[in-house]
Symmetry: C2
Subunit: 355 residues, 2 copies
DNA sequence: CTGAAAGCGCTAACAT
DNA sequence: ATGTTAGCGCTTTCAG
């Protein structure tokens, strides 16, 4: 206990006794502004002065204090991250979001930016905009906002630089997987395996979430290209992205029709539910029914059979997001929309149809 | 383009034109310090003054600026988070870490703290301690540091308040699942199902990572209690927590012995590998071999058969971590170690052994 | 090229 | 009970 108190005190002292530019000024005999200029490479200083000051800073292990700097410059080198726990799935646990955040952090770290979680409705009743102002956040990565959230819309229109990696927000640069292209590929793979009665299962299209909508569009387009007439009977919408909904969608689908030999499911999680239903009713995969999912969830390679699916390029999405957010912060125009291709991963859930 | 420029400018203006306590002072006719006191509830002010000022602040939508406040108070209301991408598994993608972080964030949000990712070896070559000082972080949540990391050790000894939720760090309060108790339960479940030749598969015990070690100890203890002699042949260590290692461990185990009818595997991910091996060699689960995993990974309910496992109480771990970190920040002593119980989840991977 | 002065927004210590 | 003064650490004019 005594020990802990001492530690705590030690910390305060350490922080308070941090070396400042005034210390360096005293040490080197120059003034504080000169030290500042030397440290930042700004202003006009003689090479010698700069060298002297830099050496002294190094020796004294001087570290700038962003808090103080930010007060004058307004540059906090802070990026806000919006990642809400929606009904869809708890924030961090979503496979896509985690991958994006991981790489985004690395990219931002490279250029000296730190990541801070934004929150809405926190203790102080702050909105996103309030929170951004409160922390002087320089830009925001929108990974997963709540659906149709007014605060989010306000933030998008506030002029605070934002990029979005999942949802389309008018006025905000959005970077997402090219789901339409992937949807086409999915159907083409199934067509190539001899399937013609191909179903689609996915959440009903939310106009702001391109994922399900584009996957569905890709499905339609591939069918059209192959001259296979579209049938409403083969499309089953579900209310969300949960496995349970996939299970129910499969039940509904098979209640309606028995001709289906293949399904393109808009996500692995949904596909797991579909597979569970198939197992339950003895519909063997892939012998009786072929399935393609989306996301390459950790689980996908361990289902039985392993699930053929699409891997989103989260690293690429994050890199582009980081690049464009930085551009945006620096006042450089960015595109409204960027598509990043997904990769098809062939496993054991698709069978060649016997003629 | 023009549009974007305007937006960016709009943001700068907005930030710069934020209302300050001086504005409130002017509006209300009081002085800045008085406004400050009213806002913070400090000092001695008449009720009326306070009310007037608070009303004016509300009306003007005044929001404090932490950056400025922190400069004088040293209280940034910032908590650092250490979550490195170790070889073990990429940072955010680990099921346990994500859950912990999610709840921890909510808890801290309640009391006005924001979360910031700490990084080591960033552009400026800052250590954890440097980074903490640079951002004036008030405390640190250590979720997943690199193994035997000197910088981490230094941070732990720096006096900066820390709590750890995965690894034991001398001098730092650690909150983890009671893996030993869970390990015992696992073996007891298998014993109850009639198994006596029970194997253990898990990473070799790292002295700082209680997870594998404690699960192994629980395994041993349950065996001892049941008077079943310990056999080295039934224990297979693996180098890490990856599924691939589980696969190889299973192969090694079965190469050595054929009497095993049940395995307690230290994690679901490893268990997936074990299951994959079993499937491959036609060893039916659970008919021929029963398996219990650990973590309740998203995948666990979708393997074939669904995997019986333990669910760590990440929410509880995070709550305790948040509580103790706040205590520690406030100079209140905290325990060195807290165990949180895990819950056994029975699914289809354990069979009653036929006599 | 360098330094003096001023200010970012807030709070602590002291006067009044 | 309220105001004055000063300072947190840094940067940005602007003189010299």
């Amino acid at each position: 206990m005594q020990n802990r108190q001492e530690l705590a005190t030690g910390y305060v002292e350490r922080v308070c006794s941090m070396i400042t530019i005034y210390d360096l000024a005293r040490i080197t005999g120059y003034s504080a502004p000169t030290v500042s200029k030397a440290l930042n490479g700004t202003g006009k200083l003689s090479d010698e002065t700069r060298k002297t000051i830099l050496a002294a800073a190094e020796k004294a292990k001087y570290k700038a204090n962003v808090t103080a700097r930010a007060l004058t410059t307004k540059h906090t080198k802070l990026i806000g991250v919006i990642l809400e726990n929606t009904v869809m799935m708890r924030g961090f646990e979503h496979p896509l979001f985690c991958g994006i955040l991981d790489t985004f952090r690395e990219e931002m770290d490279e250029v000296g930016y730190d990541l801070l979680f934004m929150s809405k409705e926190n203790k102080n009743g702050m909105s996103y905009i309030d929170h951004c102002a409160y922390r002087n956040v320089e830009g925001v990565l929108v990974v997963n906002p709540e659906e149709n959230d007014l605060e989010m819309t306000k933030l998008a229109h506030s002029g605070i630089p934002c990029v979005s990696t999942n949802v389309i927000i008018p006025g905000v640069c959005t970077i997402v997987t090219d789901s339409a292209a992937a949807g086409q590929v999915a159907v083409e793979k199934l067509l190539a395996a001899g399937h013609t009665h191909i179903a689609f299962i996915g959440p009903s299209a939310d106009k702001n979430n391109p994922a399900s909508k584009e996957r569905y569009e890709g499905y339609c387009e591939a069918l059209a290209k192959a001259n296979i007439p579209y049938s409403e009977d083969l499309v089953e919408y579900c209310p969300d992205w949960l496995s349970k909904s996939g299970y129910e969608a499969a039940r509904n689908l098979f209640k309606r029709t028995n001709s289906v030999t293949a399904i393109f499911v808009a996500s692995d999680l949904l596909a797991f539910g579909v597979m569970a239903y198939c197992h339950e009713v003895g519909k063997r995969i892939p012998e009786k029914i072929s399935i393609i999912g989306f996301d390459d969830d950790r689980a996908a390679q361990f289902t039985s059979p392993p699930l053929s699916t699409f891997k989103q390029d989260t690293a690429r999405i994050a890199q582009v997001a980081a690049e464009f957010l930085l551009q945006r912060i620096n006042g450089v125009p960015v595109p409204d929309f960027v598509h990043v291709p997904a990769e098809y991963i062939s496993r054991g859930s698709v069978a060649q149809l016997k003629k």
